[in-house]
Amino acid sequence: MTQLDTSDAAAETLKGGPGRRRVRMTGRGVPLPLLIPALVGLAFLLLPLVALLVRAPWRSLPSQLTSTEVWQALQLSLFSATAATAVSLVLGVPLAWVLARTEFPGRGFLRALVTLPLVLPPVVGGVALLLALGRNGVVGQWLDSWFGITLPFTTTGVVVAEAFVAMPFLVISVEGTLRAADPRYEEAAQTLGASRFTAFRRVTLPLIAPGIAAGAVLAWARALGEFGATITFAGNFPGRTQTMPLAVYLALQNDPEAAIALSLVLLAVSIAVLAGLRDRWMTTS
């Protein structure tokens, strides 16, 4: 349901800040049939994180985190997630605009297709990418024979896989923001002599900037944690395609302590992202 939250949060921001009218139930007693599952659910979500902190090899942590492999994986992860986010922005924002602002037959169907990678198992996405962009893929064979470009098992391949999985988050978020934004601002700009593109660039884009930022962070976080599509499409080569999640998985087999250390880093990044979005999600009702 993440996409719904995003668009709602984005819509809230556009309407001028988070809604403050929250109905508080505390003090009037929460019914037990609700309270007990709620507490169990809370524990279920928090326990694994607590375990991670409890079992963390705090003493050997500094040496773990300064090893070359960890640095390589971290750098690669940060780079490829950022690059995938950039790709998502460049392609996703215009796609969101087209979905939100134009009417054409099959628009609803297209929108559903765009959101498909949200629900598609990432491994399936990786297989699909291989069939499309692999060396013998539908498009990949031409990329290879005409331009000598090979995507699978390269760092670019990692970016492609991550963008494939992450872009829908951005598109849905930005589309929601656009729908909540008043399209008449674009009309006002047009009556002042702005072309539709100028109106988009100078009026709409600044207005939906918060939604774009939220979508970008969401896409970035999703790209950072990407595992299935990456390992399927780009493989697992240290320094080239081995991102943090892959490194965690691999380390867990040989060196559990290293896996925990890597996991802690990803947890820290996640918390940082959440802190960055604090005002957007944690305060909206």
Partner: protein, 359 residues
């Protein structure tokens, strides 16, 4: 770029607006003809859903014409996209760009017309100065009061030097006090404006104060047009009669008597023949609790009170019966008559209070 905004037809010097707007939306059809000379201020007046805003949007190019034509200063604009029309729009809720300062809002148009950033800012500053908003140039729209925002919106529309200025309910978003000031200012700016101005409103007072000519639209068609004074005196539909506060009836005149289509007869001072309208103000009606003795039977009707409401310092009484009508009386008179819903009264109108004119 600005000289490319219109494709002027050689040899024509018909200045002003010449439009026949037809917009077909299946269940709703707008079909109105609108002409105006430079300097004219035309008000489109009509109830909600009459098509006023659609007409305005069609003039701005935000709605496509199904048919008809649109010429401005001799240039065909039917197929011109909104950004290429020499048209300025003041939107109902202004639609000032919230992320830009007042100065940049006003400078937006000139900037789009290829003025440099410095030039457009200079133009904007001049307009804000003219509107008495120089000290608010750096303010974002949300920091402006309703009246200030309205003036920024007018400045923004005028800064592109439009040949047609469109105003959609320019005063609707203001509270009563601000409205008075802003209306007076807007009247001054419209009077100074050298091209055609078309404003849309459902408020007859705004229309009469601001416009030289009123065009009344109901259900997508023009039902009456003329000067404010003419329309106030000779309403031709119930909607207009209600707006200008008159009781209006249609009937056949034979000399001084008018027989209404519904039966009752009204005696008037005018001597007319054929189809006529008869109008009289609610204040011209006198009510009696019992049949007035000694009064002539002329213009005397037995009615039932259908509703009461305060109307300024008077009581507006809605009457049904032989002749449905509205009557205004003082609170004291209403109390003395013991008026309440369902009460039966006698209503009279002097012939001198009535006004008949050919339909």
């Amino acid at each position: 770029m600005s000289n490319l905004r219109t494709t002027a037809i050689e040899g024509t010097d018909d200045k002003g607006l010449d439009a026949h707007l037809i917009v077909d939306r299946g269940t709703f059809r707008l079909d109105i003809e609108l002409t105006a000379a430079p300097g004219d201020v035309v008000a489109l007046l009509g109830p909600n859903g009459a098509g006023k805003t659609t007409a305005l949007r069609a003039l701005a190019g935000l709605v496509h014409l199904t048919d008809g034509h649109l010429r401005l200063d001799g240039a065909e604009l039917d197929r011109t996209p909104p950004e290429s029309r020499p048209v300025g729009v003041v939107f109902q809720d202004y639609l000032l760009f919230p992320h830009l300062t007042a100065l940049d809002n006003v400078g937006f148009g000139p900037r789009c017309q290829s003025a440099t950033k410095a030039e457009s800012r200079a133009i904007a500053a001049e307009w804000l100065d003219r509107m008495g908003l120089a000290e608010h140039a750096g303010a974002k729209p949300r920091r402006l009061s309703g009246g200030q925002a309205q003036r920024v919106a007018v400045a923004r529309a005028l800064a592109t030097r439009p040949r047609l200025l469109l105003l959609d309910e320019p005063l609707a978003a203001l509270d009563a006090r601000t409205r008075l000031d802003v209306r007076a200012q807007l009247r001054r700016h419209l009077a100074e404006f050298e091209a055609v101005a078309v404003l849309v409103t459902h408020d007859p007072l705004d229309a009469m104060v601001l416009a030289d000519r009123l065009v009344v639209i109901e259900q997508g068609s023009i039902v009456q047009e003329g000067t404010p004074a003419d329309i106030a005196r000779h309403p031709r539909t119930d909607y207009i009669a209600q707006l200008v506060g008159l009781n209006l009836y249609k009937g056949r005149a034979d000399g001084h008597t008018v027989t209404l289509d519904t039966g009752p007869v009204i005696t008037t001072t005018e001597d007319l023949q054929g189809e006529v309208f008869v109008a009289f103000p609610p204040s011209g009606v006198t009510l009696y609790g019992s049949r007035p003795t000694g009064a002539s039977a002329r213009n005397l009707w037995h009615c039932e009170v259908a509703g009461l409401e305060t109307h300024g310092d008077q009581i507006r009484v809605d009457l049904t019966g032989e002749l449905p009508l509205a009557a205004d009386l003082t609170t004291v008179a209403a109390a003395e008559l013991d008026l309440h819903q369902g009460a039966l009264v006698w209503a009279t109108v002097k012939a001198t209070q009535t006004h008949a004119y050919p339909a």
